[in-house]
């Protein structure tokens, strides 16, 4: 990377981060200043401080009521043009006085992704997901693909307490362009809540990389588009810190990280590919080399020899699937990363936290 390219990247990244955390439409909170020494009121300091607190509290109250009960200043746009599902959608129109719901879609990657990466949307509020489900169309290389949203609580983005993941019944088709369109404008997100705009996202999938980790044989076996692509010895979690069972997905890749728990921390851990929010990784564990391929002794992560971890780091991408069919820990479930694929399709289609069917 040239200096010029790096300057450009930095400017963009700083700007993206600044606008993400403090969007342009963020209301400026009330300013509370201590009473000035030169104030004409000459209140004793404690009284003045108490007054400032009262002002701040009152302003805070006004703000929070404003968000929930004030009718939308700009009423939701009219419902989209009639479609074949017009009659279903017409019953899901928002009340014109509904409060607007904010929606943001995750931007996972600019390049191709693995076939296990869900589409993730964040919502400022929602109590009924039927309109979201019915207004969403998904295509793979132009062909319609059945996919469903599943809602859960979220603390990933401030002001967006609910997230939803979109997935087909099985993994995404490999080597495809997936396009997701959400024609939400004018539809309801529940009583008194309405969407004001449409959303869309498009991404490409790469090869179907599926890694399967066997606790019985202490091996990770990788297939790429169904063909064998390597076998790697591992050490999974010790009995006190067992590796969780089920289907996980690579969330992020870091050439070097710090790991820690309540009693110890270590930096410079290499070739780390994150699998769960709870802190499971594929990683290089030179300190555990004597047990790799033989004994479960990790802190829950999948310990690999350094050369193998480096090779998997080069082979795999974000969204690739890593299955643990016989690991000894509790099963992973939605909310611990991109751990969506073990939810039975019939249950997934009900919508989770809010209903999407019926």
């Amino acid at each position: 990377m040239t200096d010029h390219e790096l300057e450009h990247l930095l400017g963009e990244a700083f700007d993206a981060q600044a606008r993400r955390v403090v969007p342009d439409d963020t209301p400026v909170p009330p300013l509370s200043l201590p009473a000035s020494r030169r104030s004409n009121l000459h209140w004793p300091a404690p009284l003045a401080a108490a007054a400032a607190v009262l002002v701040a509290v009152a302003a805070g109250l006004a703000l929070s009521y404003g968000v929930t009960s004030h009718p939308s200043a700009t009423p939701p746009a009219p419902a989209p043009a009639p479609t074949d599902r017009a009659s279903q959608l017409s019953s899901l129109r928002a009340d014109p006085a509904a409060a607007p719901v904010r929606v943001r879609l995750a931007q996972i990657s600019t390049g191709p992704v693995g076939v296990g990466l869900p589409v993730i949307a964040y919502f400022s509020a929602i109590t009924d997901g039927r309109a979201v489900q019915q207004a969403t169309t998904v295509t793979a290389d132009g062909h319609r693909l059945a996919a469903a949203w599943y809602f859960l609580r979220s603390n990933a983005v401030r002001g967006y307490p609910i997230e939803a993941h979109l997935r087909p019944e099985h993994f995404w088709p490999a080597h495809s362009t997936i396009a997701v369109s959400m024609k939400l404008g004018g539809l309801t997100a529940g009583h008194g809540l309405g969407f004001t705009g449409n959303e869309q996202v498009q991404f490409r999938t790469g090869a179907a990389d599926i890694a399967t980790v066997s606790d019985a044989t202490h091996q990770l076996t990788l297939t790429r588009d169904g063909e064998p692509a390597g076998t790697f010895p591992v050490s999974l979690g010790a009995p006190s810190t067992p590796t969780r069972r089920g289907t996980k997905v690579i969330m992020t890749k870091k050439s070097s990280i710090c790991v820690s728990d309540a009693t110890y921390g270590e930096c410079g851990v290499k070739y780390a590919q994150r699998l769960t929010y709870s802190g499971e990784y594929l990683l290089a564990a030179p300190w555990n080399s004597g047990h790799i391929g033989r004994i479960d002794s990790s802190n829950g992560s999948t310990d690999l020899r350094t050369a193998d971890a480096a090779r998997l780091y080069r082979l795999l991408r974000v969204g690739d699937v890593v299955r643990y069919p016989d690991a000894s820990g509790p099963a992973v479930g939605p909310g611990d990363g991109f751990t969506d694929w073990d939810v039975p399709w019939t249950k997934w289609r009900m919508g989770g936290l809010v209903r999407t069917a019926g």
Binding site: L10, E12, F14, P34, G111, V157
Partner: protein, 182 residues
């Protein structure tokens, strides 16, 4: 762009000169930009909002001495830098006592899914830089300040700004090349 020199005590103006700066007006006009600056230095919104609130309280205490709105913005920016530094120092102390480096659970700043992958990687690398280098790069490439203005904001020499910037850029290049996402 105002300079910090304009606010030193010897420049205090006797009553009857230009009116003191209008702190609430500055707050409305610059709150968003300053919170964004603080976010780029301390990473979380709650701390950033506190930093900016405290910066305005500090400005308010001195508002009678400040007549030039441009100088006031320079003063606010320098306060945000100083207060952000204190936030980071407190955080390191708290962490040392807790014997924990990064929290293992919950989504952290480094896998924010609303950011593009290359932006996330760049921001993660910036977080690993020494404090001074990070400050200089944020002021240069986000605030768009000149070397001289950065020197005034951080109260260091122009030469120190130059060397912090070039060492920061070199370290970032190294980290991002190492990262080598495919």
């Amino acid at each position: 762009m105002g300079t910090l020199l304009a606010m030193s005590p010897r420049d205090e103006v006797a009553d009857g000169a230009a009116p003191p700066v209008d702190v609430p007006a500055l707050y409305r006009a610059h709150w968003r930009e300053l919170v964004r600056l603080a976010v780029l230095l301390v990473d979380d919104l709650a701390s950033a909002e506190d930093v900016v609130q405290d910066a305005f309280v500090a400005l308010h205490r001195r508002s009678a001495e400040l007549r030039d709105p441009a100088a006031a913005i320079g003063y606010l920016r320098a306060s945000v830098l100083n207060l952000s530094r204190s936030v980071l120092r407190r955080r390191i102390v708290a962490r040392r006592h807790a014997h924990v480096t990064e929290p293992m659970s919950g989504p952290g700043a480094d896998h924010d899914l609303l950011l593009r992958e290359d932006h996330r990687a760049a921001l993660a690398a910036v977080r690993r830089l020494p404090r001074r280098q990070r400050e200089v790069l944020v002021l240069r490439y986000w605030s768009g300040l000149s070397e001289r203005e950065i020197a005034q904001t951080l109260d260091i020499s122009a030469g120190s700004v130059k060397s912090a910037a070039s060492r920061g850029m070199a370290a970032l290049t190294r980290m991002l090349d190492e990262e080598g996402t495919r």
